[in-house]
């Protein structure tokens, strides 16, 4: 036998009795628990995931967290140290054993869940780990790797898991802190890179502490500190990235944080502000200062409403169903004027409403216009955004409470003006929908979270899995000929939803190899012209730059089956909204023109025929005014 094999054999011999015991007891526990749950719960795809997680956590806590600490406690680490090649062999074997252990535990948990499913329903589950993305598995694997490493750093195995939780919280906090800023985005490539760094840090730290520390006869404290230092060195690029993001945001200049395009596109209502980020109280106040601006889109003239930089911003109120904001009952823009003092105390706010078409103030009664309300008092119904509400559904023998967001299950057909609720569909659980696309009269495609694309018939409330689509397909709007725009693996296609035939759409005007669709200009749910052009906001994936993405405006030409990428800016460095954005997608396509925002402060108009762009508004002019 080779050294690694004997070390692996030693680990097996050492833990086999515990593993037998755990396997037997967990089998009994899972099968007994499954008897306590209703059939619906056991047959839920998530049940397999929970049993797998239960077994995995139990095995990690009882065995995996004690792989190194037990050696120290028994003094057998001295034996491993003096055996030639013992430390490296033991390290490799423990790492391999740990991975075999966790992988087997996860698989065993799935098998137990499947057995429970079989015993309750008579059938095997249809799918395994439905909805578990590779990035989640990678994240879990990295976390497990840190359990392995931290079991070297703690003296008792019982401390491993809590210490890992604390450590990961600490090392991840700079990144999480940045990510928690509203509107922040991070590319999947960056996340993968950071996870790979974290994995390398865990392995390097473990090696330095256990193998190098043992070979150099370092004390426990010194070996631990050196391992920790190496691990932190590997993690430092992540922290540097977070720090850089923080600095970038701290020094962010004023930008257009919100645009409301008035109906008819004559007037736009802009909120100019510095990024609302954290910092000292003084800094936060200094950075906010939203300013309301009314812009005449034809002449380019603008006027500040209220005083410059005195916390006034523009918003629009909408009816509760956000899907219907584009139609006649779309909310009108209003300007909210409030002082800094009233923000802090919440005592009073003043609302001034403007007509989106004429750009003139609306005559409102005094009660609405100068509404006084104390802190904690409910908002007037006109500002109610709907939102989630509790709903109790009958599920087998028990009851469970779901949070149900009506707008996430509502389907509205613009042709018939009829609405239906997918939560009433047969055999359909209440998982929120990630996306929905109207493909033709009565033909909807919907995708629940962690689920497949499915056809939904609002008339019959029947659902059917859409075989022509893959789970990760990103669907754009349909064309008016019934075909569908989709992006699969960064490549745009046009899909014939009847035959399932895919036709690739060529990307022109860029050297980038793929794209990620963001949004299309035009009416929400309205089909794209199959014989014309459509504006779209997209991100493109460059070749050879795994950490970079670019975003910009593109024009989809359905006749030529091409996408012309017009202009690109780097993506992934600045916060969301700093790059390109189609202005108010449901209204932006009007008279062959589309508006888009190129932050920090340029509003541009794109002529769909000539593909020429013209600057309508530039924030630099505002800053000149501020300087004056």
């Amino acid at each position: 036998m080779k050294p690694l094999q004997v070390h692996l054999w030693r680990e097996w011999r050492e833990h086999r009795r515990s593993l037998y015991f755990l396997a037997a007891s967990l089998t009994l526990v899972v099968l007994a628990l499954s008897r306590q749950f209703s059939v619906n719960v056991v047959s839920d795809p998530a049940f397999l995931g929970w049993t797998s997680l239960l077994v995995l956590a139990t095995v990690v806590v009882s065995i995996g967290s004690d792989l190194f600490a037990s050696e120290k406690q028994r003094g057998t680490d001295a034996f491993l140290t003096r055996v030639p090649g013992g430390l490296a062999g033991a390290f490799a074997a423990k790492l391999l054993f740990f991975w075999l252990l966790t992988a087997s535990a996860g698989a065993f948990g799935l098998a137990l869940g499947g057995a429970a499913h079989l015993s309750r329903t008579g059938n095997l589950p249809d799918s395994v780990l439905d909805g578990v993305s590779p990035s989640m598995i990678l994240l879990g694997a990295v976390a497990l790797l840190w359990v392995f490493t931290i079991s070297i750093w703690v003296k008792s195995g019982t401390l491993t898991v809590p210490a890992t939780a604390l450590f990961l919280s600490a090392v991840a906090s700079p990144v999480v802190w940045i990510l928690l800023i509203p509107g922040h985005v991070i590319s999947s490539g960056t996340v993968s890179f950071f996870l790979e760094l974290a994995a390398c840090g865990a392995l390097a730290g473990a090696w330095v502490s256990f193998v190098r520390g043992g070979r150099k006869n370092h004390t426990y404290r010194r070996a631990t500190l050196q391992g920790l230092a190496v691990a932190c060195l590997c993690l430092s690029p992540t922290w540097a990235w977070a720090g850089r993001r923080y600095i970038v945001m701290q020094v962010t200049e004023m930008k257009v944080s919100w645009i409301h395009l008035g109906e008819g596109q004559r007037y736009a209502f802009l909120t100019i502000a510095k990024a609302p980020i954290f910092g000292s109280r003084k800094t936060k106040r200094a950075l906010q200062e939203p300013t309301a601006v009314l812009l005449d889109m034809e002449s380019g003239e603008w006027s500040v409403k209220g005083e410059f930089g005195q916390s006034m911003w523009i918003d629009s109120y909408r009816p509760p169903n956000g899907d219907r904001t584009y139609s006649e009952d779309r909310g009108r823009p209003f300007i909210e004027l409030s002082s800094l003092d009233s923000q802090a105390s919440g005592d009073s706010r003043e609302r001034v409403l403007y007509d989106g078409v004429t750009g003139q103030p609306l005559e409102l009664d005094a009660e609405t216009r100068f509404e006084q309300f104390a802190k904690g008092r409910p908002w007037p119904p006109i500002f109610d955004q709907g939102g989630e509400k509790g709903m109790t559904t009958h599920a087998g023998a028990g009851y469970r409470r779901n949070w149900w967001n009506p707008s996430r299950h509502m389907f509205w057909d613009p042709a018939t003006d009829r609405s239906s609720d997918m939560s009433e569909a047969r055999d359909q659980d209440l998982r929120p929908l990630n996306s929905r696309v109207l493909v033709g009269p009565g033909r909807w495609l919907a995708k629940p979270k962690a689920g497949h694309w499915m056809w939904f018939d609002p008339e019959t409330n029947e659902t059917e899995v859409a075989d022509c689509l893959e789970q990760r397909d990103l669907l754009g709007p349909s064309f008016d000929d019934g075909s569908l725009f989709l992006v699969r693996a960064h490549t745009p296609y046009r899909l014939d939803t009847v035959s399932g035939e895919l036709q690739q759409i060529a990307i022109h005007g860029t050297l980038h190899e793929g794209m990620v669709m963001q949004s299309f200009g035009g009416m929400n749910n309205a089909p794209l012209p199959s014989n014309g052009r459509s504006a779209m906001h997209c991100r493109t994936v460059p070749s050879g730059e795994p950490l970079r993405q670019y975003e910009g405006i593109a024009v989809l030409d359905a006749l030529e089956n091409t996408i012309h990428v017009l202009d690109l800016v780097g993506y992934g460095v600045r916060v969301q909204g700093d790059g390109f954005a189609l202005v108010q997608e449901e209204l932006s396509l009007h008279q062959g023109r589309v508006y888009f925002l190129e932050n920090p402060g340029r509003l541009l108009r794109l002529d769909m025929e000539t593909l020429e762009t013209r600057v309508v508004f530039d924030l630099d002019d505002m800053e000149l005014l501020e300087a004056e």
């Binding site: 050294p3 004997v6 030693r10 001295a78 055996v83 030639p84 006869n217």
Partner: protein
Amino acid sequence: MNTILSASGLHKSYGKLDVLHDVSLDLAENETAVLLGTNGAGKSTLLRLLLGLETPGRGDVQVFGLDPLKKGQTVRESIGYVPDHPDIYEWMTALDLFKFLKPAYPTWCDERALRFAEALRFPLKTSFKALSRGEAAKVMLAAALAPSPKLVVLDEAFARLSPPVREQVLEFFVREAPLEGGAALVATHDLDVAARLADRVFMLEEGCLTEVDDVHLADGSSVPARLRKEYGDEEPEALAG
């Protein structure tokens, strides 16, 4: 004669406690040296320094001409070491231990290990947890000698054994340990052991190492005159401190 082991100017301290002070030692091939000293004198520390299992504060160690701190694996592949107490996994049997050690020592010989087991009469399939101290010491000695090491290092391997077992183990060691071109270093506080084994005797006192006598004692008839002078007619156990 070739030098098997050479140490010069070794210093070792734990915090403010000086354990070894300017210790120098040479061991040539075919020599068996005994390291005498009371409990806590620093014998184990010195042995661990020589094996590269501890780092000296100052000084230099060469084993087979190599630095054991830098070439630890190569050095330890040619050393048979028996610690003062078995630090083996309790569930391991003698056979398990042999199986585990075999890939680590290129010169490991299964036949030799089994022959030692027969000679020392210890059970092969009983876990260390169930073995007596004497049996565990025998297993450790057999495992240390099975790869025919060039240097055998025993750290109080004969301590706390019952007289018959100690006699059996000593006889076995005398018979098997003298290796062609090799050497042995035995740490003990037992003068009788020293008298039975030593070609050279070193005394470790208050962190300083001195060679007691260069009289050959391998015939087992006497211990160095200086020791007799120093300790009189006291029983050897008096050195146990």
